[in-house]
């Protein structure tokens, strides 16, 4: 009952005309940027983040949630129509979704993806609402030692899930942590690694990292290939799946939702695994496996809801523990901090309107994508027809505007350029930027918690083993790292990613 009254409170906040309008604007702008090829949710949120600065905190978060879902939707639109996924989780959708598009069933693929995502969003919203209070209660008994150990577990998990070399993933996390120490030391205020430059004195803004590593660097990579990507002139066709297609999709949607919801809760970006896991599961369960890769609707109806459910439940570690599990949530932390909100268990009790309003608006964002955005698909298709030689110019200028709007500081644009070159270099040497971002976000928090934990224990590092909860997290972290290095498991993991 308390759950219902809480959701009621949230709905009352989210349904105010201003917040509905903001959620809608967020969805539209998120789709507009997210549909651009190569631009995933991270870069989209980074670019649009400054738009929310002038709003009050609740409205800002509601708009950001809209941007996030819009970006997700835009990403799957681009991967279905063009076969160019903006981020790794949309790769799976591209396999069968793009095949459907080539057969003239693009509309159905987009439709089932939106319907499935809406179902997933609805269920995941309920999961968040139900789990948030108990988890936040647990979080309140955590001290700095437990927090530090938990973040370590999250990073270990991220290493396990990263693609390619485990060693390189660990190095990326460390580089991210090192970047996070640029700027003032939080206790003594002494400047670190700033080269004496005034414009580095506040450290590096997470949005700059997002736009540099995931926006501009992606443009560099895409420009190598030239104009290879052309949208197929095949008709979109009807958006609504027919009865047989619906029947085929119901179970994959529900299974995908369940998988996504569970994986999304895990610290360390479990959500990224969800679409892969769902695709593998659907393929295993199918009577005729050869249909997969040739436009099987289950290949869209499973992974898309899994992706969306995971995207949504990954809010749980952020809202209850204050720990962002991935780069998108890290940007959310950045947005919250700008508005003076410290994410964590106290949000729910101290700012119930904000907390439940955000949760209700998540559901509303999903609904808007379904009823307003889906019919607009023709508009997004037109946008995708803009040749890349012009599109990337637009992406560059959006990033410039986005960066400048953060602090009105021209030097930030140059930092973004530097980070873009760095990100381009990373891919040239076989490194992934995603673990770096996570290390960057958790780095600052880990330093603070480590410092406090050691202060409490009077410099005794054994505190992480003597405290049972912390010790349990450490054991899990070590176990996951061990598993990550074992050759047999690694092969299995690589298989999941290549399939």
């Amino acid at each position: 009952m308390e759950l219902l009254s809480n959701l009621g409170l949230g709905a009352a906040v989210a349904l105010s005309p201003v917040n509905i309008a903001l959620c809608f604007a967020g969805c539209m702008l998120g789709t507009l940027i997210g549909v651009l090829p190569g631009i995933g949710p991270i870069a989209t949120i980074a670019i649009l983040l400054p738009l929310t600065f002038g709003l009050d905190p609740t409205a800002a978060l509601i708009m950001l949630a809209g941007i996030y879902y819009g970006a997700q939707y835009g990403g799957s639109t681009a991967s279905i129509l063009l076969n160019i996924p903006g981020e790794s989780s949309a790769v799976v959708t591209a396999i069968d979704g793009h095949e459907m598009a080539r057969q003239g069933r693009a509309g159905v693929a987009l439709g089932i993806s939106a319907i499935g995502s809406f179902v997933a969003g609805t269920i995941a919203t309920l999961v968040i609402a139900a789990l948030a209070a108990p988890l936040a209660a647990i979080a309140l008994i955590f001290g700095p030692a437990e927090y530090f150990a938990l973040m370590l577990t999250g990073l270990a998990f991220a290493v396990l899930l990263a693609r390619g070399s485990v060693l390189k993933a660990i190095i990326m996390i460390l580089v991210g942590m090192l970047l996070s120490t640029v700027g003032p030391d939080l206790t003594t205020g002494q400047l670190r690694l700033t080269f004496g430059a005034r414009w580095l004195a506040d450290g590096i803004e997470i949005a700059l990292l997002g736009m540099g590593l995931f926006g501009i660097a992606e443009v560099f990579r895409s420009l190598e290939h030239g104009e290879a990507r052309q949208i197929k002139e095949a008709p979109i066709g009807t958006l609504l799946p027919n009865r047989a297609e619906m029947r085929q999709s119901v179970k994959p949607i529900l299974r995908g939702t369940a998988l996504g919801s569970v994986l999304g809760i895990l610290p360390g970006n479990g959500a990224v695994l969800a679409p892969y896991a769902s695709y593998t599961l659907e393929k295993k369960l199918a009577a005729d496996q050869s249909r997969f890769g040739r436009g099987a609707i289950e290949g869209v109806a499973g992974p898309e809801p899994a992706n969306n459910a995971g995207a949504q439940t990954s809010f749980i570690p952020l809202l209850t523990l204050g720990i962002p599990p991935n780069a998108v949530m890290a940007l959310m932390v950045g947005a919250m901090t700008i508005h003076g909100i410290v994410p964590g268990p106290q949000i729910m009790t101290k700012m119930p309107e904000l907390f439940w309003g955000l949760i209700a608006s998540m559901w509303m964002g999903n609904l808007m994508l379904l009823v307003i955005n889906l019919p607009l698909v023709g508009l997004w298709v037109k946008l995708l027809k803009v040749p890349y030689r012009l599109m990337f110019v637009g992406i560059v200028i959006f990033c410039c505007i986005g960066v400048y709007s953060i602090n009105s500081e021209p030097a930030d644009i140059l930092i973004m350029g530097g980070l873009a070159i760095f990100g381009y270099g990373l891919t040239k040497f076989g490194f992934e930027p995603a673990p770096l971002t996570l290390g960057f976000v958790l780095g600052r928090m880990m330093e603070e918690n480590l410092r406090q934990a050691l202060m409490i224990s009077r410099g005794n590092a054994m505190t992480f083993i003597e405290r049972p909860i912390a010790a349990a997290f450490i054991v899990v972290a070590v176990a996951m790292l061990t598993v990550g290095v074992l050759p047999s498991i690694r092969r299995g993991r690589d298989k999941v990613f290549t399939e």
């Binding site: 190095i171 460390l174 030239g226 560059v396 709007s405 873009a420 040239k428 076989g430």
Partner: protein
């Protein structure tokens, strides 16, 4: 390719990235040399960055060693055209956004960035740049109320 002492270089990519990491790590440790590390009980500002940098250096060392043992990728080619023009565009935007403002900075930056693509068509690019500048000005300044200086020319006492 064969290295000294009969050790065969199996992964140039790992070798170069390992060496870069070691160099970067040494540079960071050197930069931090003036800062105190503190004690376990009271951590100083240099504690975490220094040890993280050292760990990165060790990681780089492992990569270098691995490059001689395990087969890996060759070095990839860098395509410089895109990065060079886009970076030039960023510098131009950064230099002109405060004065004379967005209405000059945006088209200039877009005209330069556009040449980052091999398939650039100048006339089309000019039209696109002008249209995008107007659209962005309307969207960000007026519809979304962002603080973008549009046209600032002190000589004509313009500040818009």
């Amino acid at each position: 390719m064969s290295g000294a002492g009969g050790v065969r270089l199996r992964s140039p990519q790992n070798l170069v990235s390992g060496l870069i990491l070691i160099a970067a790590s040494a540079f960071v440790v050197w930069m931090l040399s003036g800062l105190s590390q503190g004690t376990m009980r009271v951590m100083g500002p240099a504690m975490l960055p220094r040890w993280t940098a050292i760990a990165i250096g060790v990681g780089g060392l492992v990569l270098v060693i691995l490059s001689a043992i395990r087969d890996g990728d060759a070095l990839e080619r860098w395509h410089l055209r895109g990065p060079v023009f886009i970076l030039a565009a960023l510098v131009i935007f950064a230099g002109t956004i405060r004065q004379p403002g967005f209405l000059v900075a945006a088209p200039l930056a877009m005209l330069v960035a556009g040449f980052g693509s091999r398939e650039v068509r100048p006339r089309e690019l000019v039209i696109f740049a002008v249209a995008m500048t107007i659209a962005c000005a309307l969207l960000f300044r007026f519809a979304l109320n962002q603080a973008l200086p549009m046209l600032v020319v002190p000589a004509l006492s313009l500040n818009f």
